[in-house]
């Protein structure tokens, strides 16, 4: 078998390429498995889980903005137990690395959720301390270095899976949060989750979303996300997975040049489901053209 220039290792897990479907944009893989070759992906990050599941938010949930979208889904999910019993094995059968994303409303929720996930055959646990759409918890844990470090330390102590902490771009001092998570034992970091944004319906003179604020994602945020990934990569020595508005193989290369080991792609999958596969093909073609034997050679050279 010929050498794969896209292969990498992330927290002891072998990925065939650095392209991962981002949490909240790919369900648990079922919907897209019907329509594309999901086996070609490097990894799939499942929909954000909470201990007991959630019906999500009422009112409008998605709203398109310029080259971007706002969402206020509110972590609608079937709960950790359902995931362990009904989704994890299916995700494993698809082929790509399996990442479970865990959110929480309280520290106890995170810990009980992480404990239950010890029963699941997953490769990585992505700790979501950055969802802007749930009132109690979520992003509240990821804004300050102290709370982020505390929840990271406690989950790390009980989880048997490598722990990747997903950071919020809404933190006042993102690199401080990143360093705190590294010191608390995180095996990797992923960033950025969505930016807190807002939409107003002029006709009704009201906010579009019941929660008033919502999470902004999509190509419009890419330069902001790239800058933040670069800053965090300069601040920590654990692997970083970059995301935020990636729309092409070139964007993925930019993230990797900035220091990301791997990338997650989310909103563009909604717009054009083949984007993930086009990025993988584009990375392969670029490595061949640039005579790069492994893409990781360029990781963080900027």
């Amino acid at each position: 078998m010929s050498y794969n220039p896209l292969s990498l290792e992330l927290c002891g897990v072998s990925l065939k390429n650095p392209v991962i479907a981002a949490s909240g944009t790919f369900g648990f893989g079922r919907e897209y498995a019907e329509r594309m070759e999901v086996s070609r992906l490097g990894g799939i990050c499942g929909k954000g889980l909470t201990l007991r599941g959630s019906a999500g938010n009422a009112g409008e949930r998605v709203y398109e903005t310029r080259s971007s979208m706002l969402n206020s889904i509110g972590l609608e999910n079937p709960g950790v137990k359902h995931f362990v019993e009904h989704e994890a094995a299916f995700m494993r059968s698809l082929g790509p690395a399996v990442i479970a994303n865990l959110g929480g409303h309280s520290e106890a929720d995170y810990l009980e959720g992480a404990e239950l996930l010890n029963e699941a055959d997953i490769d990585l646990l992505e700790l979501n301390i950055s969802c802007p759409n749930v009132k109690a918890g979520g992003m509240a844990f990821g804004i300050l270095p102290e709370t982020a470090a505390d929840i990271t330390r406690r989950v790390k102590a009980i989880s048997r899976h490598p722990l990747m902490v997903k950071l919020s771009p809404n933190a006042p001092d993102l690199t401080a949060v990143a360093r705190a998570c590294e010191e608390a034992g995180a095996d990797a970091l992923s960033l950025v989750n969505t930016f807190l944004g807002m939409a107003i319906d002029v006709k009704r003179r009201r906010p579009v979303f019941d929660n008033v604020y919502a999470g902004l994602s999509g190509p419009a945020i890419f330069p902001l996300a790239l800058r933040m990934v670069h800053q965090v990569c300069k601040s920590v020595s654990i692997p970083v997975v970059g995301m935020g508005g990636i729309a092409s193989a070139e964007d993925a290369i930019r993230m990797i040049l900035a220091g990301a080991r791997a990338v997650q792609v989310g909103t563009m999958t909604f717009a054009s489901p083949n984007t993930l596969l086009e990025i993988i093909d584009g990375l392969s073609a670029w490595c061949a053209k640039e005579r790069i034997s492994n893409l990781q050679e360029i990781c963080g050279i900027i």
Partner: protein
């Protein structure tokens, strides 16, 4: 990738587009249409199937241009490509017996393919069509070819024309107030009644959970579990 065969205006702000190169869908299903490579507007627009022609392999859409996304579709010319993902969604069930079809505004689009399938599945069945428009009627002749009667109301309340106590199955697509009134009449008459819902969605395949609605059978995704529901299942969201 679909190729546009024709694309022209049929009423104020309403267009009819025929494409080739996509799998044929069923009545009530939809495609996510998007101008290829454009990032603003970013997301596809869910556009239902007006006609799926097994003979030519072509699919026809009738769409409105309320915003920038759909306005870009109107500028596309025959021969140009359009990104068409689908067909998505469950589609209308073809129940036996007579059918009453109730459409409001651009909601008439999926009902045309429905009338076609109902006629093809049972050429003898009776099909009565009621179409309501705010200012200008369109597609009326298309329905006349497929049904026993077409009643058109412009600027009125189309549900006033419909008797829900006939021995028939009722189907509707249109603005929320119309569906709400129709559902109340259907409940009073204990009619079998299917509605096609519309909600903002990002992906169209059931992944984003942007179009979730509470039903009597739990949470359902309008794009994947719908858009067609039995009215009683979704009555409180109508």
């Amino acid at each position: 990738m679909a190729v546009i065969r024709s694309n022209h205006r049929i009423a104020a702000g309403v267009y009819r587009m025929t494409v080739s190169g996509v799998p044929l869908g069923r009545a009530g299903q939809f495609f996510m249409l998007r101008v290829s490579g454009v990032l603003d507007p970013l997301l596809g627009r869910p556009i239902s199937i007006f006609g799926a022609d097994a003979g030519t392999g072509e699919t026809t859409f009738v769409y409105q241009t309320p915003g920038r996304g759909t306005a870009l579709f109107a500028d596309l010319l025959p021969g140009q490509a359009i990104d068409a993902q689908g067909p998505y969604g469950n589609g209308f069930p073809l129940e036996s017996g007579g059918a009453v079809i109730l459409g409001g505004g651009i909601g008439v689009a999926p009902l045309h393919q429905l009338a076609k399938e109902l006629r093809a599945s049972d050429p003898k069945r009776r099909i009565d069509v009621f179409l309501g428009f705010r200012e200008e009627a369109y597609c009326v002749a298309d329905f006349e070819q497929l049904s026993d009667s077409v009643t058109v109301s412009v600027g009125g309340i189309v549900t006033n024309d419909v008797d829900f106590s006939e021995n028939a199955v009722y189907y509707a697509c249109g603005p929320a107030p119309m569906l709400h009134t129709a559902a109340e009449q259907a409940r009073a008459a204990n009619a079998r009644f299917f509605v096609s819902l519309e909600k903002h969605m990002a992906c169209g395949v059931g992944a984003c959970l942007g179009c979730t609605c509470e039903t009597t059978n739990g949470r359902k995704r309008v794009c994947k579990d719908g858009p067609v529901f039995e009215y009683s299942e979704v009555q409180h969201v109508l």
